[in-house]
Symmetry: C2
Subunit: 222 residues, 2 copies
């Protein structure tokens, strides 16, 4: 029997705030007060963001014509066991290979495999936004073979910055494997233990992706 | 021992889409394509919403000077057992009383009590946006006495429309009780059974509220 330690849940999400890192070219977040206690007797906020702003889930229709939108992905898939592979020793801005992944904890079919590149340690360093560590094509093939339900990463994208063809997204999304991007550096805490990843995207009807509050819930087996 | 049926999770969230109902006077949602597969080789979305758009969690600082913001509420509180009180027999646009609540399933300390007004059955009917069923002050006192962790409702607000003084919000938020509003009509499915409510708000730094994907997870006790 498994016990889920909800009270010990760890935040794996980046804060949504003015000036936060984004994939270059995506909508620039604009988050501001719409009403305040002082002036209006109530605090309200208006936010303009992209569907890929902050920690978020990519759905097939992001890159696949006629693919499922984010609101149609099965909810049960966002309560999912996860293993973390630490590739933070790899040189920044290079591609993680199948062989790198295979050295880490083994994902079971139906798991999420989350890649800890270490780039999240420097979230906010703008030079990294176009020079982060990404997945090489054979890593995507490996993940498909492993029959994972989803793939996570602790920076802006699984794809090499500026890739002309979105090879990695197409390989994964084309097989119905969802992608959760911009997990935060707390992911490292789980590198030695399987946990329950909860990453329910908000219900953005018919769209390519949506922000989520990703959290890691420790599991105790008895 | 409790088993959580994640694979049977029920969506309790409203879809975020153009033209959706909002509390009058809040920011008008604007959700549109920012890039498309046809033109740009990728689907991306830009969304402008309010912090209270769609299914969302209210934090104390919504109405309490110096109160906690939504990103600072403990994560464990958003994995919470919930009971539903069905008051859908009550005349629309009237205030739910303590006595109404006490006729339903009893909340334990630390639960969420969710009020099913039935207004969610007519989500999209604009006349209801300023004439929905709300909580009367003695219902808020009852919830405080019950020491619930949170309060849910299946329409735009727990507060009477246009209230000059936000009595209900102040009573609840002032005691650190969070509020989840605009749950959808699926809430009714749980009126006869305790379930796990998961309603993690996105991590909107320092703000009064944030959208969440609220889901109901059936519990099996063994």
């Amino acid at each position: 029997m498994k016990e889920y330690k909800f009270a010990e849940a760890v935040d794996l999400s980046q804060p949504l705030e003015q000036g936060m890192p984004i994939y270059p070219g995506n909508p620039v977040p604009d988050i501001e007060s719409f009403a305040t206690l002082d002036k209006d007797g109530v605090n309200l906020t208006r936010l303009t963001i992209g569907s890929h702003t902050g920690t978020h889930v990519d759905a097939p229709v992001h890159f696949i014509e006629g693919g499922l939108s984010v609101d149609r992905l099965p909810l049960g898939g966002f309560f999912v066991e996860c293993v973390v592979v630490d590739v933070s020793q790899r040189e920044r801005g290079t591609g993680v290979t199948a062989s790198d992944l295979d050295k880490g904890p083994q994902a079971r079919p139906g798991d999420v495999l989350a890649v800890f590149t270490g780039c999240s340690r420097d979230w906010g360093d703008k030079s990294l936004n176009s020079d982060y560590t990404y997945l090489a094509p054979d890593a995507a093939d490996y993940l498909v073979e492993k029959r994972v339900k989803g793939v996570g990463i602790d920076f802006l994208s699984v794809e090499k910055y500026g890739a002309k063809v979105p090879v990695i997204h197409r390989k994964l999304l084309g097989k119905g494997i969802f992608i959760v991007e911009s997990l935060n550096r707390n992911l490292e805490e789980f590198k030695d233990r399987r946990f329950l990843l909860v990453c329910l995207p908000i219900r953005l009807a018919g769209r390519d992706a949506a922000p989520c509050r990703a959290v890691g819930v420790p599991i105790e087996e008895s």
